[in-house]
Homo-oligomer: 253 residues x 4
Amino acid sequence: MTASTTQRPLSVTVWNENVHETTEPEVRARYPQGIHGEIAAAVREHVPDADVRTATLADPEHGLTEEVLAATDVLTWWGHRAHGEVADEVVARVRRHVLAGMGLVVLHSGHLSKIFTTLLGTTCNLDWRSGEDRELVWTVDPTHPIAEGIPSPLIIPEQEMYGEFFDIPAPDELVFISSFSGGEVFRSGCTFRRGHGRIFYFSPGDQAYPVYHHPGVRHVIANGVRWARGHAEQRRPPELHRREAGWFEGTGR
Amino acid sequence: MTASTTQRPLSVTVWNENVHETTEPEVRARYPQGIHGEIAAAVREHVPDADVRTATLADPEHGLTEEVLAATDVLTWWGHRAHGEVADEVVARVRRHVLAGMGLVVLHSGHLSKIFTTLLGTTCNLDWRSGEDRELVWTVDPTHPIAEGIPSPLIIPEQEMYGEFFDIPAPDELVFISSFSGGEVFRSGCTFRRGHGRIFYFSPGDQAYPVYHHPGVRHVIANGVRWARGHAEQRRPPELHRREAGWFEGTGR
Amino acid sequence: MTASTTQRPLSVTVWNENVHETTEPEVRARYPQGIHGEIAAAVREHVPDADVRTATLADPEHGLTEEVLAATDVLTWWGHRAHGEVADEVVARVRRHVLAGMGLVVLHSGHLSKIFTTLLGTTCNLDWRSGEDRELVWTVDPTHPIAEGIPSPLIIPEQEMYGEFFDIPAPDELVFISSFSGGEVFRSGCTFRRGHGRIFYFSPGDQAYPVYHHPGVRHVIANGVRWARGHAEQRRPPELHRREAGWFEGTGR
Amino acid sequence: MTASTTQRPLSVTVWNENVHETTEPEVRARYPQGIHGEIAAAVREHVPDADVRTATLADPEHGLTEEVLAATDVLTWWGHRAHGEVADEVVARVRRHVLAGMGLVVLHSGHLSKIFTTLLGTTCNLDWRSGEDRELVWTVDPTHPIAEGIPSPLIIPEQEMYGEFFDIPAPDELVFISSFSGGEVFRSGCTFRRGHGRIFYFSPGDQAYPVYHHPGVRHVIANGVRWARGHAEQRRPPELHRREAGWFEGTGR
């Protein structure tokens, strides 16, 4: 029976480079607990049985040791200024865990993170403007669990503009499309499967705007975390298998 | 919070035309409780908190009144010989409920049912052979909840062959692909979204073979039922709305 | 070799209900040749070797006899006020031809036509406003032939608003997303496969605005017509085949 | 008008590691011109106006200089034993050209090449057996240009088995599914878009079997080459753009 896996508390690691908050007072004022603190709080609000921890760039191994990842069901990722400082070795480790079944929720400027571009294979470039745009987030897949309970549109009064063309593979599911006051559009909520892992990208959110205090944005992130949980029985990436003819006889009931 | 909806018992209606079982002794011997009885049992085994009822063609309004559908989270459909006897009015009612958010699990020869072809828009034709084929069901989307706990391949020792070309729209998710001893292949587990509703088609299963006693097949059907549950707050199909400019102001938090 | 089929002139039938133009002088002034006349001209401009004819609701059998459809590679469809007056028999005939390999390009308010909703299976409802919106059409699949040569964004100074939620199945390919001055977004260029046929839906265009004179819109429509051409050797919908074991031996080189 | 680009001869570069042929006499006997020679011949047969050249691992820069790639519309890739010997710098160059609009056709054991796994983001692992399997290749998307003129099934009398789970992202289009005598299935013909580039993966073909002499296999490869051609006006990957509000005014007709 499958019910067992869904009853264990969901183990979430919220990762943040935590550079803006520690170097820019106005960002610190906006996010006194750091962006990771807000995201962790959002998950706790909506997934009461979640076990949420945080990790940052400055931690040894960025806080993403083999032990931490092995115990993580879903990892969330926020980065912007310091993508290049994330160690390749850690990126390879995270990638292996995603392919093996760990969920990954990539937020906002994480689109240019090494882990996201490596898993997607494209540049993940886009158009942007740090102006005075209002963002509206429209649901285009109302059957998706990530859209559950989310008003359409979400109204984000002030936000950085992210616009098309967004260089990603066609998402497996397109959940949200945003418009901006300036007229641009963006595929702002997208899912991807890679190996045994599920990935959700959600663009709203920025260090320069109070977007992570927005109730609807917090709700989406929490839904995304819940959705990204995998069910792989063993945490192992897909492997190359040499098979004899009839290897499966005796299995498969 | 979304947790509430997932805690209410899942309400399932298992529909079967129930013609083979009532007119062919060998089918009755194979399925003494009817195919609907086996499918209901399969759901109860794997979704202990489900509230499962059955309905058949011979019931008034085929057992699918407005009241029944309004109280149904997921409907499963088995038909073969009597597709033409299902009243158009009932088909229209089921369609409306699916578009409004009711889940639908269509099994085996239900591919030619009015409700399936109406929701998909294509002929849903295929190749078939009632011979002595073994079917192997391979998982090609291991991240999908319907594949959770299912061995790959499932081995079904005797089964009717269903082969490509299967005239369906490209599925939103392709979960299983089957092969048959004769060499044919078939997209045997497919999901589709229509309106606010989720549809799962699963081909293994036949009146002439004991397929619905197969533990793996039963598990897949139960997973499909659980997956197909919707979350629409109101049971209403998408509507045409004339909108004033700025109609959404004041909503969207 | 496949080259032969692409060298025969492309045979296009442009269908229009032609009701606004014949009953409203201001629409007639905007489209003196009828909307069908403009669409036919757009196709001829961009596909010089096309053989383009037109047909309207008032023609016997709406101009869509078996002979006409059998000789049509791609049919374009514009309707709005008179969807209900299109004979079910003609709709069934068009559907059969699409499933058998005829291309179909559905324009603007054709989203509620019988032929489109029948092939898609959903309500195809949406939000709308006949106001003073500017529409911007953004390319999100730059590899698609329908996007070839099309600037991103296309700017349509005045246009009816069509907004999400647009109740369609997830498109096989999402080529364009539009925004409107009012902030709404819309999946404005979508492809679907049904049977052996290809379908392109493109939303820009209205009787009340001069959208079909817009060079970019004309170019997209012509690209869509070219893309929708099928290659089925015989014009036949997919069929149900009973197959003997080994039926394919001797074929398949 | 778009016609111009399709009239220029198609420029194709056929790449092969060319290791088996130069070190194993029985492979040399099977493919006296090398696998690249056969693939080039297949393209020439079906795309008479193509300009086809070949390149191999042993060439300086593996024959894939900036000049060669800049002049290539579509690159085909065959590798097996020497994936690790392909220089990372060349892989990065090929990747940049694909994202910028060059087509890529990856064949058989190329699934583990650096270029394929880098563009897809997954392990691309699979099950395999070098036994005595017959492969049947079934068309599941009859509207796709790559399926044009291809019988379903293609029958390949002797072939290496490639089976699921194949660790790739869900393909944008699934064109072919294969079965093998041993009962395994495989998504054998898949398309992917990355940046401005189109990718086709086709699994039939091996150094140990005469698969590249099979007329149907040759036809599929040629169709894939033709399909993969891009239309980007400039060969440039998608870029990050900072945009002023209203930047698009004056464009977009």
